[in-house]
Structures are given as C-alpha cells and as structure tokens.
C-alpha cells in the first residue's frame, strides 16, 4: 500500500514536470529544461525500481494512464531480463524472430551474440541507429562514445526525440536502449576521443586489465577525419578489427569499410575512399551550412553497417570489405583495399608483415586448403539440380582490388567504378623539402619559446 501511494505520488510529479518541460522548449530556457529533465529521469528511475520490486501491482489501467502522461520511457513497460534466448514462438518472447534465423539455417547458434561486445563511437545519425539495431538483436554489451548533446537540429534523423534535447547523446541513448532491451549491458562514455587525454581514455576503455581488447568490434560512426584517424590508431595499437562508416556531406551517398589491422588497408594506408557523387564540388552550394543530412541515407548506412557486423560476429554470409552506396543512381560499388606497404603509419607495415607471416605459415595454408575442399564438397552436394530450364549459372562478381602502395597520382585508376579518394595522397617533392625545411638549430625548446614570447610582446 505504501508503495502504491508512493508510486501515485511520483507519477503526479512526473506528469507535472513533463508539462513544465513541454512548456519550456526554447533556447533561452534550455538550462532549466535540462535540470527538469534530470529530475524527471531520477523520478523515473525511482518509479522503475518500485515497479521491479512489485511488478504485480502495475495494472494495465495504470499503464494507460502513464501513456496519457506522455511518458513513453515508462518503467511499467520495461520487461524483466531474460536469462536464455528462447526460440519458442510466442508473442511474449522478444527473441523468437531472431532465433528463427537459426531454425532456418541462416545462422548457427544465434545466442553467441550475447557474448559479444561492440563499441559504437559517435552516437549521431548512424551510430544511434546502429546501437538500436544491435540492442534489438540482443547484443551482449554496448560501449557508447560521444561528447555532444542532443539538439532539435538532430530531429531530421532517427532515434532521438525532441524531449531529449539538451541531454548528452550517450545518456539519452543509454536511457532509450535500456528501455528497449534490458538484457544489453550498456556503458556510456561522454568524451572527445581526438584529444591526447581522450585518446588514452578511449584506449583504456576498450582494454582489458592486461591490455588486450575486450571488444569484438569497434564501429566508427563519427563525422570527421580526425576521429577516424584516432580510431585507426587505437585499433592498430590494440590489433582490433573495426568498421568505418560514413555519409557524404551532401547526404546522398555513404559507405562502410572493414579494417583488419595488417590484413586490409588501415585508414592511413590510402586516402579515405568515398562514393563519387557525380556533383562538382565547386558547384555544391555550401552557404551557411557545413553538412546536410537525411534520415534515409543515414538509416541505410546504419543498416549496412550492422548487417556486416552481424555477419562478422555470427559467421554467416560474406563480410564485405568495402561497400559504397550512391542514392542518386542506386549504385552499390564494392571492393577490397589492399594494405599499403609504404603506409605513413609506423605501426601498420609491421602488422602487415606479421599478418603475412601468419597467412603463409604451414598451419594456415593447410587450414585454407582443408576449408576449400570442404566448401567444394558442400557445393557439389547442394549445387546439383535435376533440371535447369532457365539456364541459370553462377558467375563470379568479385570486385577489383585497389593497387595501393604506389603513392602516385595514378592510384585513383585502381579504384572500383564510382569510388574516389576524398583527400589527396601525401606527396611532397624531396628536393623541395630539402630546400625549404627548417634549418638545424642549436637552441632548445625553452630558448625558442622565449623568442616567440619576445615576438608576441614586440609591436
């Protein structure tokens, strides 16, 4: 009885606060809205813990009332955790449709997904949707990284809701995702990974106690080159496989790319590869904005990214190394990007050599030929059809591989049709460098800093 009175009390406060917040959605009062939002979350948490203690007390009628109170995050609808993923086909089983993948022979042992940990870096238009997809798939653990806050300007994208404006993206995402699937362990990290401190904190957060990685995959859903390079560096140092994703500034194309340190090109091996939009950069109108975005393109890229992630984690189908998407022409170029032996990153060539040693080892060669033989047997069994009236045959459609490592302007020609580099290849004439480089100096850093100070003071 006491609980019921308390619950009713808290609910009254919740609706009152929500009404206050709804009345306060302008920039000037953003701060007070944030404060109220926090209070609201606290109360919701209390309400949540009360109802977990006494789930039998939440009647359907109560649930409806709460919905009227505009509270979709309502604790009453949070289901209890599920110990084992069941394949039982009943309306109340959140995993029946996923476990059906197993019954249909698409995935072996779908439950393995619960042992997997994914880091999603960047909780924007792509990252938030990717995180939701993984949550609904019942991923074991999600690590979420972002330093930004939710804004009304994000509402053209999926996932976040207007009333989350002002919250950090990590906090808002964790709130929603826990509500969708309480079986997923969620850790949120509100930080910028590109700074010196951020880099170390990010690296530490994906490391186990002994310095090895505790994640199965890192998903890069960031919107800038600096953050991608940071992820690249951390993943090279941890020898951690990651997937890059990106949507073009004009919102009409995107791509995903798998980076396996040593085995594929790292993000520094060749300039970032993007889908050619067919639009001349110089005619692109950029007045007043840095980037456009569409929920469609971002949702599609998030879908491609998570699909590739599921295939990678659960070993089904073929994990595509690079997949582009051009929405204007509905064109999906694919290709493999070979690692560059002359990569400017110091670690990458060492990892390439280590991969080659592993790849060419006797065990690896034997394992590959055994696998090939098994696949051939399976093929022979499954591919025989009694009749073939339509003359259907299987043809290879392997994409071309980039000729990397030449470091010349001719590199672009090795790319699959419809793809281009988004930045030029580093290229400086050595003679220019010798002629124009800083001269040797006997002065140390302190001397030079004083000289700089003196120049600052001089009028």
């Amino acid at each position: 009885m006491v609980d019921a009175a308390l619950t009713a009390n808290i609910r009254r406060e919740v609706s009152k606060l929500q009404a206050d917040i709804d009345a306060l959605q302008t920039n000037d009062v953003r701060l007070s809205a944030e404060k109220l939002q926090h209070q609201l979350e606290k109360l919701n948490d209390q309400l949540g813990s009360l109802s977990t203690l006494a789930p039998q007390r939440s009647t359907e009628q109560d649930g409806e009332k709460l919905q009227d109170g505009n509270n979709q995050q309502n604790a009453q609808h949070v289901r209890p955790k599920v110990k084992e993923m069941s394949a039982e086909v009943v309306d109340s089983n959140p995993y029946s449709r996923l476990m059906a993948l197993q019954r249909m022979g698409i995935v072996k042992d779908y439950q393995r997904i619960r042992e997997k940990t994914i880091a999603v870096v960047g909780i924007g238009g792509v990252g938030s949707v990717a995180a939701e997809m993984l949550t609904r798939c019942g991923i074991g653990r999600l690590l979420l990284y972002d330093y930004d806050k939710v804004e009304l300007a994000n509402m053209n994208r999926l996932f976040f809701r207007p009333k989350q404006a002002g919250m950090t993206k990590t906090e808002a995402a964790a709130q929603t995702l826990r509500g969708i699937n309480p079986d997923v362990a969620i850790e949120s990290f509100t930080m910028n990974i590109t700074t010196l401190q951020g880099f170390d904190a990010f690296k530490a957060s994906i490391s186990d106690g002994d310095g090895t990685s505790r994640v199965d995959l890192v998903l890069s859903c960031v919107d800038n080159y600096e953050a991608r390079m940071t992820i690249n560096q951390v993943c090279l140092e941890m020898e951690q496989t990651w997937m890059e994703s990106g949507v073009s500034e004009d919102a009409v194309s995107g791509h995903i790319q798998v980076v396996i340190p040593g085995e594929t090109a790292c993000f520094a091996c060749v300039p970032p590869l993007v889908v050619a939009s067919g639009i001349d950069e110089r005619t692109l109108k950029r007045e007043g904005v840095c980037a456009a975005s569409l929920p469609t393109t971002m949702g599609i890229i998030a879908g491609l990214l998570v699909q590739n992630t599921l295939k990678y984690l659960l070993n089904f189908g073929q994990v595509t190394r690079y997949l582009g998407y051009s929405s204007l022409t509905d064109f999906f170029p694919t290709m493999d990007i070979k690692p560059n032996p002359g990569c400017s990153n110091r670690l990458c060539p060492k990892l390439q050599a280590a991969f080659q040693r592993r790849y060419n080892s006797e065990e690896a060669v034997a394992a590959r030929s055994a696998a090939a033989a098994a696949a051939a047997d399976a093929d022979a069994e499954s591919a025989t059809h009694e009749d073939n009236d339509w003359g259907i045959q299987v043809v290879s459609d392997a994409g071309p591989a980039a000729a990397s490592g030449t470091g010349t302007a001719g590199q672009q020609s090795g790319l699959a049709q419809g793809l281009q580099y988004s930045l030029p290849v580093a290229s400086m004439d050595l003679r220019d460098l010798q002629r124009e480089a800083v001269e040797d100096s006997t002065e140390d850093v302190d001397d030079l800093m004083s000289q700089l100070q003196a120049l600052n003071a001089q009028k």
């Binding site: 951020g198 840095c290 930045l423 001269e439 700089l452």
Partner: protein
Amino acid sequence: MAEGWDSGTKETVRKIPLLTVNAGPRDKDQWTKRLKEELQALIKYIQINKSTDSDWFTITSNKEGTHWSGKCWYIHELIKYEFDFEFDIPATYPTTAPEIKIPSLDGKTAKMYRGGAICLTVHFKPLWAKNSPHFGIGHAMCLGLAPWMAAEIPHLVESGVITSDS
C-alpha cells in the same frame, strides 16, 4: 587544389619553413624535436609578417607544446577586430591538423563547429593531407585561420553579429 588561394597567401606559405620530423605528442622524444621545428617555423613566419607590416596574431603554448593559444586580429574598413583563439595538438598529429577554435564566436556563424572550432574542411584539409607531415602550426595559421577570418569577419561585421567594441 590551391587554385582558390590568393597570391599573397600562396607567396607567404612558401616562405614558412617545412618540418621534417614526423612525430606527435604521443612520441615522447621525437615530439621534442618536432616541437623545436614547430617553434622555428612559427618564429620565421611571424618575423616575415612583421617585416611586411602584416602581423596578425600572437601565439604561445604550454610547456609540453600540446596546447596553444593567442590573439588574432583582422582589419576590416580600417577597424581592427581582435579575438582569442586556442587549439590542442590532437593525438594523431601531424597526420591530422589541429582544430583551431575561436570560442567567443561560437554559435555566431554557421562556418563553425560546436565549441567554436572553425570549419576548414573544403580548402584546408586537402592541403594538409597532401603536405603531411611537413606542414606545421604556422601553416595551419596561414592556410587555416587567416583565410577563414578574411572570409568570415567582413560577413560577421556587415550582418551586425560583431561590432568593433565587442
């Protein structure tokens, strides 16, 4: 790529010495060598500016050379507009360029990311990539901040967003 640059900027940037040590702040010893080169190049650049009567910024850093700040100014119709700027050397420097910030203009122009980082994507980033790791802080000032101010300050003044005493 550099067609859009005015001849003055092109002329000046050629005089800023190129850097040879490929090291960032995470490479302890090598970073000291790189920092020396950064300081030498900056001193040379500021001396050039002073000698041509086109001095436009002051700059100083913390002891480690990882955080830089200073004042930059731009003269529009004979009135001087001055701003505080700052930036950190990113963990992946010099593969990636520093993100220069003018916090006082945060939210006042669309050509800026949150936190006051100036938007340099189209013109500056390709040049940095092409010349990495030989471009340094001086080049970022000359090819990043200076053209940004030249494009944005007149616009901000004319649209009344900033005034001479702000």
